[in-house]
Amino acid sequence: MFDFIAWRFLLFAAAFGLLMYLQFYLGHRQWNRLKGEQAGEIDVNYVRTENYMAQSFRMKVKDWLQLPVSQDREFGPVIMKGHERIRTLAGMDLADHATCDDILVLEQNFSCGQGCSLTREVLVHGNSNIGSESRLQSMAADGDLMLGEKVSVARWVDSNGELTLSAGCHVGSRVTSLTRIRLGLGVEIPSASAPQIVTAEWDSKLPGEDPASRDLLEIAFPDGSEAVEESLAAAKLNAKRFVQLGGDTWLYKGEVRPPVPVRLRRKLAVAGDCYFPEGTVLEFDVKAGGSIFLGPSCVIRGNLVADGHIFLGPGCRFSGLVHAEKTLLLSRGTRGFRVDGMVAAYAGEELSLETDVALKGKIASGARAVVIDAAAAQAWRDQRRIQDDGSAVDQVHTS
């Protein structure tokens, strides 16, 4: 009776429909699982502070210390946090090449000899002294913290007192201190933040003396007058290349290479490179589409931003933010300081600091911040074809 109905075809159609639905089945099933769930992706309470990780660790220890204490046959009273052991001790002095796999909370001082290995976090309420070539996970000290030569820290270090990284130290994450951070030669870190960050051979002065004042050529900005055009010509700038972006901000479509020290009293964005001779004063923000090279004893009162490299010559002073998309070299004697806040220097690639560099604030890099010697600084300059005074190798300055 129902021969006209193509049952087999209908079955095939049903199976086909099911196969088509299967394309959406995983999505449909996943939607049923996700229904009603609120996104918990942003920590709205997060407050950015440089020593966040260390402070967070201190708060967590406070909670962990409320956990029940048990007796361990080897270590005595311990707190078990999952499979990890937390030991609270008065103090500790580890011998050379000792290993400790526990989270340590020390009421007083801590020290360890050479080549030790501490695979968990350590909180020291007193001072801490780490022997050379030791390996740490991370450490927070309420007193002073001294890392010996070639100590390697997997994550962060923090101290309320003075934090010293001896020559060759390597830290994997933030270095923070409420007092001072000393960086020895060859130290490699991603970032550091403290009221004083100083490198080897620092002369103990921050901010130190201002450079001797000198006569500077004032860069005036085009207003159509001949006097301004002459002044710009003296600075080897073409009035026609200036564009006023708005208010106090100008754009220069070219390179800036004044032959004499200048004073800049506006915010300036430059399309190309900037080479500022010794003694130049930048009162406001400067941005370069290329690189910025500043000769010795320049003063930067605004922010400095470059899509390429930034070179601060010996004895430069900056009181704002320095941001280099590529590399940044702070030459010997550079000082970063401001009375009413902190300065910061960042390089997208490598941030190099010579000896006797000091700043109040922060250094950070996309790759590493490293303290280098004079030879390495020379190599940096040679690679970018600039001289000690920040001028290009093919440029001649007049003073």
Partner: protein, 250 residues
């Protein structure tokens, strides 16, 4: 030591496509494309045999197998020959099928808000086909022509697919070999799924003529190709997302 590497915040994450992965991706593209090009005749033969088998299972009478020209370098491909209803000669059947289909679409349009635009798209295709059947019945074609169009497009999909697979699977997966395997699986699935869809379309055309041919072509053809590609991509990504960034230790 805990793991020394801390996965960065999602705002600055990226994946390093090392030389090894790039080379593997390139090899995958070359190998799969070459396989399709070199083995296209056996593949088309297998495709046709699967199609024939499904048509027979669904009780569709098969007149024979005919070769159709695809593109110049590729030669001919065998396709099933099935009698297709000249539905323009059966106005009652035409209007019945058209009305029932439209009513189904309209009811779904009323009930499922998020699918409304898609249903309007399908209704447009159906109306266009009905219009052609009524006003220009000479435009009707048979299963051979439909299969030829189908295979031309699917062959292009099979050739383009390795390029997508290399970038979507091989480069993204934390385990590159998993990515290669997934790319191969996608390719195989695509060929088999194409045969199943073609078989259904031809079977339906046997009863309904070309009334639903545009829907088959656009929705079960191209759109279904993109859908299965997206499904495979989403599964691969789910695996990659779980394994790329690690888990915070408690």
């Amino acid at each position: 030591m805990r793991r020394s590497f801390v996965y960065p915040h999602r705002s600055i994450r990226s994946i390093r496509a090392g030389t090894g992965k790039l080379v593997l991706a390139a090899l995958t593209v070359i190998a799969l494309t070459a396989a399709i090009a070199v083995f296209q005749q056996p593949l088309l033969l297998v495709h046709n045999q699967l199609c024939l088998a499904l048509l027979q299972l669904s009780g569709i009478p098969i007149t024979g197998v005919a070769p159709v020209e695809l593109f110049a370098p590729f030669g001919a491909a065998p396709v099933p020959v099935v009698a297709v209803q000249e539905i323009s000669n059966h106005p009652v059947a035409l209007w019945t099928l058209f009305s029932v289909a439209m009513l189904v679409f309209l009811e779904l349009h009323r009930r499922i808000p998020f699918a409304r635009s898609f249903l309007v798209f399908l209704m447009t295709l159906l109306a266009m086909a009905a219009g052609i059947l009524i006003f220009h019945p000479a435009s009707q074609f048979g299963s051979t022509e439909f299969a030829a169009m189908w295979l031309r497009s699917e062959l292009l999909v099979w050739l383009v697919l390795p390029w997508f697979s290399a970038s979507m699977f091989v480069l993204i997966e934390p385990t590159p070999l998993f990515g290669v395997g997934w790319a191969i699986l996608t390719q195989v699935y695509g060929i088999a799924w194409s045969a199943i869809r073609l078989a259904f379309c031809i079977a339906a055309m046997h009863y309904s003529g070309i009334l639903f041919a545009p829907i088959f072509w656009f929705a079960f053809g191209f759109l279904a190709d993109v859908i299965y590609l997206v499904v495979f991509y989403s599964v691969a990504l789910q695996w990659a997302a779980r394994h790329s960034w690690g888990k915070r230790t408690q």
